[in-house]
């Protein structure tokens, strides 16, 4: 390892010093005559800015300025000018004696304009046969978001995205075309500028603060992103082999363009509050209920209360300042950006600060050789809170605290409240920091070995250091407690590709990609914990009397890959692509170390055919189909070995010990997803309407399954490649320019995904009483053969019997009974939405832009597990309760919410049943923004500003659903666990925010 690190450092040093010395060598050479001119095209008759103009055979060149003009000194002996620009065919002109050369560029049919980022390269969007959803920065920048994933919500068909909670920095739960795994990770692979990111899927990132786990994009600022490509079908993901089964998200950061430096400053600021707050009993209500239960008068109970939820929910603040500059000379471009983001969330004690910096640069050594570097640095400071099933979570415990629990004693000092701690003391005195420092960078070198053959080598790193510090005062943990955990995850990779592209004659285009990559990640952690402090003023574990954890661990993985892709096009009409990857992973048993993945796809541009030409409405029509495979390697690093674990669970009475922790499974292998995709893409009515529709079917086999085995074996489960699962669906994207008249424009974009998930086989799994095999995810849901992977399986609640006042449930025969039994559980529904998507409407009028994004989901259920506490009459005097319990049955109130007091079902009323589940259907006005662009005429007069924009935004402003007050539809309390979705345990609601901002260009 050390050797490799050193090698890498040496390599980097050599590369950088070489690069800089080369930069220094290049200098402007002798210049003679002058040529000027204007470059135009059909779409841009007034001139195209940024066109590269170079003197062939020399290093001399320039780019056109804003009105498409250029001026260039021609060295002696040169006679050819070359004009090149992305999306256009390069033209060469003889200079001879001319002093003015005007050029008319024609669009390049090879790239056909818009380019889409694909695995290890780019392709023409129209000629690509891959299924990809693409977002450009205009779709990202328009929102006050913390991480880039949030931008995907409702903006990419087939991508289901759920904010896991309203806690600052909470990860987003992303599923591309459904969940393709049970136990292995379900998140897509994130690749930033060619570097696959560490995503903490190994479980080694587990920390002490509850639900929030590492968000792979936490340290990437949305302002820095040029484009996001979501790779969906097999032809797109097969090139990522063993990590492609969950889809791949490629992020490209911004690059500079040659020309005058442009400086942008963007600032916004806003306020936040929860979208909804749980109802809870006031002290009066509680005393009233208690009196009814016990028979004692309400006056005999405590009369002074404290409103805990009110105390822990405050008005949040959010602000963001981004300054960036970009530009460059003819051979060197740069993009530099710095951002400060601050969020003080609506939850007491939760704050987030992030500093980002980025420098991206490219340099051309010559016509043949180029190099570039993308460096992103970030530090995130997170003053964390716990959430969900933790008594230290303010938004959990505030609703559980008895309404007469007091935070202060008579002298104004904090009280010690025990199991459910004093939340005010916790926020005030405890230190709960989580700091992440991250460097994601790559440097690459490209060399044109032949005019059509390019070699590229790319070194990338993703280095994460997290530092988690906790220090609880004596009032929270007697004698005080300190904790510090430092994680370092150092990943590097080397990617080397050969890329070949050539037209043979007019009809045959041939492209090929051949590559090798090696990736290595080394993880280490150090954890210390101690208790027993003389004073709360001593912040570090070193001051603790008793060290309770002193731990240092290490782990890692390696991945070696060979990959290839071949493209062939006939007359830009018939399109073929094949790709393959062979991956070797250290995570799998020696017998199954290597996996092969592949895809084939073909397309037909129907609009090129004679029978579809000469029609008035159709501009472009393409169909394509693909089939192929991808894998999933998100398993524990040593899942195949039989292990005895050492450490504090093995030691005894001061002597070291070990215990059996995992049974061996040397045959453990890859999970494989095979996907079929058929896509139709059409552009109509003079490019005013784009429609893309895909039908797909993804079947995962060899499902990595922790087959539960009887505990009597000593183990809980046995990892096996058993089982299969199917996801199928339709992705639909419609982009319509509804109205375009002078000054007014109305555009509508609809993205919608229809999804059906079904578990096909679970060999070896348990059988329920109907003989269906299943794997249990939680007490409320399981994966069941023939049903969804997240099927809620609960006793059906049937209300209060108006005659008897007893609660009733349905038994196995569908009859109402007042006997609760878990043997009467039945299939209720799935936690996975059947339909999800977003609808964006944008109106532009004379510098004003109004944009509204509605997101929607339909067909899913949500289990509000916390209602089991709030609805449970047995919790009287233990916790606060739901006010509906006051609506108990009496003869005068036969249609009540709760059973008769003192009835036989009073003690069972709180048992888990459908009374705690809701349908998750909802429509949310996710983002509403109004922007005013200051007109160019005014800006010109200032002579300072190039552009100016003022904007206001509202997030999660409105939610339409059948859910009652306090129930948030957008939750995923268990993070990205594939087997537990759609469950909330006091999961903090999403924030509703209002922001105002200004963006200036210089």
């Amino acid at each position: 390892m050390l050797k490799n690190l050193n090698l890498l450092f040496t390599m980097k040093r050599v590369l950088l010093s070489l690069a800089f010395s080369v930069l220094a060598v290049i200098s402007v050479m002798a210049q003679n005559r002058n040529v000027t001119g204007t470059v135009t095209s059909e779409d841009e008759p007034n001139g195209i800015p940024g066109v590269n103009v170079s003197v062939k055979g020399t290093m001399v060149g320039t780019i056109t300025d804003i009105d498409g003009t250029y001026s260039l000194s021609i060295p002696e002996g040169s006679n050819v000018l070359s004009f090149s620009f992305v999306g256009f065919e390069t033209q060469e002109k003889m200079i001879d004696n001319q002093s003015q050369i005007d050029v008319f560029l024609t669009p390049d049919v090879k790239t056909l304009g818009e380019v889409v980022v694909v695995g290890y390269g780019t392709q023409s969007a129209k000629m690509s046969v891959q299924s990809i959803s693409s977002l450009d920065n205009s779709q990202i920048e328009r929102m006050p978001i913390f991480t880039a994933q949030e931008a995907l919500q409702g903006q990419a068909a087939g991508v289901q995205l759920t904010g896991t909670s309203g806690v600052g920095g909470a990860q987003q739960n992303i599923r591309i075309r459904g969940v393709a795994s049970l136990t292995a990770g379900g998140s897509p692979l994130f690749v930033v500028d060619g570097v696959p990111l560490n995503d903490g899927s190994s479980g080694d990132y587990a920390n002490e603060s509850g639900a929030v786990t590492l968000n792979p994009l936490m340290e990437l600022n949305p302002n820095e992103i040029e484009s996001i490509s979501v790779l969906k079908d097999a032809s797109a993901v097969a090139i990522y082999g063993s990590r492609g089964a969950n889809g791949v998200i490629l992020i490209k950061t911004k690059k500079g363009t040659s020309g005058k430096s442009q400086i942008n400053v963007d600032f916004y600021r806003g306020v936040q509050s929860p979208t909804t707050v749980r109802p809870y009993m006031s002290l009066d209500q509680y005393n009233q209920y208690r009196s009814a239960r016990t028979g004692d008068p309400a006056s005999s109970f405590p009369q002074t209360g404290f409103d805990w939820p009110d105390a822990v929910i405050e008005q949040g603040k959010i602000s963001n300042l981004n300054v960036s500059a970009s530009g460059g000379s003819e051979n060197t471009t740069y993009f530099i950006s710095g951002t400060y983001f601050m969020q003080d969330t609506y939850a007491l004690g939760n704050e987030l600060d992030r500093f980002n910096g980025r420098l991206n640069m490219t340099h051309k050594f010559s016509d043949k050789a180029r190099f570039g570097a993308n460096v992103g640095l970030a530090k995130t400071y997170n003053d964390r809170i716990n959430s969900d099933n933790s008594t230290f979570a303010p938004l959990t415990s505030a609703f559980l605290h008895l309404p007469y629990s007091q935070p202060f004693d008579d002298n104004g000092n904090y009280t010690r409240l025990g199991f459910i701690p004093n939340l005010l003391a916790l926020a005030d005195l405890a230190k709960t920091d989580y700091i992440t420092r991250r460097t994601t960078a790559n440097t690459y070198f490209e060399f044109d070995i032949l005019p059509d053959l390019t070699f590229k080598t790319d070194w990338g790193i993703d280095q994460i250091q997290t530092e988690e510090t906790m220090r609880y005062p004596d009032i929270i943990e007697p004698t005080g407690e300190g904790y510090k955990r430092i994680i370092q995850d150092y990943k590097w990779l080397s990617t080397n590709t050969l890329n070949y592209q050539k037209y043979f004659g007019d009809s045959h285009y041939f492209g090929a990609l051949l590559g090798y990559s090696y990736e290595q990640s080394d993880f280490s952690s150090m954890t210390v914990e101690g208790s027993g402090f003389v004073s709360d003023k001593l912040p570090n574990v070193a001051s603790a009397a008793t060290p309770t954890i002193t731990s240092a661990t290490g782990t890692g993985w390696r991945l070696a890959s060979y990959f290839a892709r071949v493209n062939y096009r006939f007359k830009d009409k018939l399109l073929f692509e094949g790709s393959a990857r062979r991956d070797g992973s250290s995570r799998f048993g020696r017998d199954n170390r290597y996996g092969n993945f592949w895809a084939l796809s073909g397309g037909w541009v129907l609009s090129e055919e004679k029978f579809l030409q000469n029609n008035s409405f159709l501009d472009f029509l393409k169909i394509n189909a693909s089939y192929g495979t991808a894998g999933n390697d998100r398993v524990d690093n040593f899942a195949s070995l039989g292990l005895y674990q050492a450490g504090s669970l093995g030691d005894y009475a001061g002597s070291p010990g070990i215990y059996p922790s995992q049974p061996a499974n040397p045959t453990l292998g890859w999970e494989e997803s095979a996907q079929f995709d058929f896509t139709l893409y059409a552009t109509m009515f003079n490019n005013k309407l784009d429609v893309e529709a895909s039908v797909w079917n993804k079947r995962t086999t060899g499902l990595l399954l922790d087959v539960p085995i009887p505990y009597t074996t000593g183990y809980a489960s046995y990892a096996q490649n058993a089982g299969s699962m199917r996801n199928r669906g339709i992705d639909l994207m419609i982009n319509s320019l509804n109205v375009q008249s002078s000054g007014f424009e109305w555009r509508t974009i609809l993205n919608v995904g229809f999804l059906e998930n079904e578990v096909l086989e679970l060999p070896g799994a348990s059988e329920d009483n109907e003989g269906r095999r299943f794997v249990q995810g939680s007490s409320s849901q399981r994966a069941i053969e023939g049903y969804s992977v997240n099927t809620f399986y609960l006793v059906r609640y049937n209300g209060i019997n108006p005659e008897t006042g007893e609660a009733e449930w349905l038994n196995g025969d569908g009859e109402s009974t007042s006997t609760y039994s878990t043997n009467n559980r039945e299939i209720i529904g799935s936690a996975i939405p059947r339909i999800s998507g977003g609808l964006t409407n944008t109106f532009s009028y004379k510098g004003f832009d109004l944009s509204a994004l509605f997101t929607f989901t339909q067909g899913n259920y949500i289990m509000y597990d916390d209602l089991r506490f709030l609805y449970n009459p047995n919790n009287l005097n233990s916790f606060n309760l739901d006010p509906q319990l006051l609506d108990y049955w009496t003869e005068d109130n036969p249609n009540s919410f709760a059973p008769r007091l003192g009835g036989t079902t009073q003690s069972n009323f709180g048992q888990r049943s459908t009374i705690h589940i809701r349908k998750g259907d909802h429509i949310r006005l996710r983002n509403l923004s109004l922007t005013y662009n200051v007109p160019a005429e005014i800006l010109e007069r200032t002579k300072v500003f190039r552009s100016a924009r003022i904007y206001g935004m509202a997030q999660n402003l409105l939610t339409f659903s059948d859910l009652e007050e306090g129930l948030e539809p957008e939750i995923s309390g268990n993070g990205s666990d594939n087997q537990i979705q759609g469950e909330s345990f006091f999961t903090p609601a999403q924030a509703k925010s209002f922001t105002l901002g200004v963006s200036l260009g210089f």
Binding site: L417, S586, Y652, A664
Partner: protein, 475 residues
């Protein structure tokens, strides 16, 4: 210029051939072969068995807390829904805490089975036959102790359900990859297995170890005899119960009653077998340990299990088992509650788990002799020793009208001595007594033989293993 580029190009090409080593080893674990490769690792594997029983679900207080919540010594002020339902006799078969309890026991049993299976064949020649026999004997002691705790929780006591009542699966295999669906053995079979095994291993066990932590915290002849005494007592085999108790008490250089209640928390002659816990063992588990359940919220515990009024009534006001071992706390509402001080560590939960105390062995013998001989001097002497330690008047034979009254008094002393140590539930059930006194809300549900006085086989196990049969009332 040209050369520069060539150098650069060749240098970068070199990166193509970076070493490709995909064989890496775990850093915090050993493969199973290495776990029995030498003496240190064999002994480590054995200590791992003890260590696994430190878990909350095994001897880290959960089974004891459950027994207390079901019976009449504590008042439940709980927050755990899964414990709440046990305390109010509405337990469901999918109770996750009980599922974990089952799992943690069998995990420790597996670790013991592996020591039994692999120790004899360890290739390390420095490991003597005596050492191998002792390690195997210790592992056998632990699995007997674990199975006994399970059968008491999951099966009707033998005096109620008889020898043929369904017990728990007896598992002695070290998992080899083949999944066996074990069925439930009868209570009689489980008892017979444990009794045979314990009798077999006594000869291989030492009397003491070099350190007091190991003498009290690892299997010894005394611990095996004491456990046998308890099993025979539960089975009503009075003669054997008395004999095995005597075997323990005769080793008076090792075991004896402490003179006062300061013995708590130290390794001394009062303990026959206690699981040794340290600050790093039960650590900051969210569910807590002994200290967490039995201490007030004000002191940093969960405050779940204060003295019940029934228990308070049982003590005389001056009884030092009350005065020296309790602490008053006034809760948020101004209500005064009493908590035990037997487990004071609320910070790191490092209090040892008192599995078998000399006091229990004394009471076993007193009770067994009274069952055999009625009101007798030795039983009187034994319980008077305890009463004297508690600062109470001693009894005379004439104080008891009948053998029944005498036995009831011994049981009452047992309750007061061993309160909060998890004995009460079985002491009531084996004597055909209800877990809650008359007048309690749950009196009817708590009668011996009632379905929910014993725990359900976890639904999760029934779902996978069709050989298992659920207890009545949980189907």
């Amino acid at each position: 210029m040209k050369n520069l580029k060539t150098i650069l190009f060749i240098g970068l090409l070199g990166s193509l051939f970076s070493c490709e080593n995909l064989d890496i080893d775990p850093q915090q674990s050993l493969s199973t072969e290495l776990a029995f490769a030498d003496k240190q690792s064999v002994e480590g594997s054995l200590l791992g068995v003890y260590s696994l029983t430190q878990e909350w679900e095994v001897f880290g207080s959960l089974p004891q807390v459950i027994a207390d919540f079901q019976s009449d010594n504590v008042r439940f002020i709980g927050s755990f829904p899964t414990l709440q339902e046990i305390s109010i006799y509405t337990t469901q078969a999918d109770n996750a805490t009980l599922r974990d309890l089952w799992r943690a026991h069998y995990r420790a049993i597996l670790a013991a089975n592996a020591v039994v299976a692999f120790t004899p064949d360890s290739p390390d020649e420095t490991l003597t036959t005596e050492e191998r026999n002792q390690f195997v004997a210790e592992a056998k002691f632990m699995r007997s102790l674990l199975m006994f705790q399970l059968v008491n929780l999951y099966a009707q006591p033998v005096n109620i359900g008889g020898e043929n009542a369904l017990g728990i699966p007896i598992v002695t295999d070290a998992f080899s990859g083949e999944i066996t669906s074990y069925s439930r053995n009868t209570v009689g079979e489980v008892h017979a297995f444990i009794i045979n095994e314990l009798n077999d291993i006594i000869a291989d066990l030492p009397d003491t170890y070099p350190t007091s932590a190991f003498t009290r915290g690892r299997a010894t002849k005394g611990a095996a005899n004491a456990l046998l005494s308890r099993i025979h007592l539960y089975r009503g085999e009075w003669q054997l119960a008395a004999e095995k108790a005597k075997a323990v008490l005769d080793a008076d250089d090792i075991y004896g009653l402490a003179s006062n209640y300061n013995f708590w928390g130290e390794n001394n002659s009062e303990y026959v077998f206690s699981i040794q816990n340290s600050e790093i063992d039960n650590g900051r588990t969210g569910s807590g340990g002994w200290g967490s359940y039995y201490n007030s919220a004000e002191d940093g515990g969960r405050g779940d299990a204060p003295f019940s009024d029934y228990l308070l009534d049982a003590y005389a006001e001056t009884d030092e088992r009350l005065t020296a071992l309790s602490k008053e706390n006034v809760n948020a509402e101004g209500v005064s509650l009493l908590y035990t001080t037997k487990f004071p560590d609320v910070v790191t939960h490092s209090d040892n788990s008192p599995i078998i105390r000399t006091t229990e062995v004394v009471l076993n013998r007193a009770e067994a002799l009274a069952q055999l001989n009625g009101i007798n001097d030795e039983s009187l002497e034994l319980i008077n020793a305890l009463r004297e330690r508690a600062g109470l008047d001693i009894f005379n034979a004439g104080d008891f009208d009948s053998e029944e009254v005498f036995l009831a008094q011994i049981l009452e002393e047992r309750r007061k001595e061993l309160a909060f140590e998890g004995h009460r539930r079985m002491d009531l059930l084996r004597n055909n007594l209800p877990l809650r006194p008359e007048g309690d809300t749950y009196f009817d549900e708590s009668k011996p033989g009632e379905n929910k006085t014993i725990l359900p086989i976890p639904q999760r196990e029934l779902d996978i293993n069709t050989e298992l049969v659920q207890n009545p009332g949980y189907e």
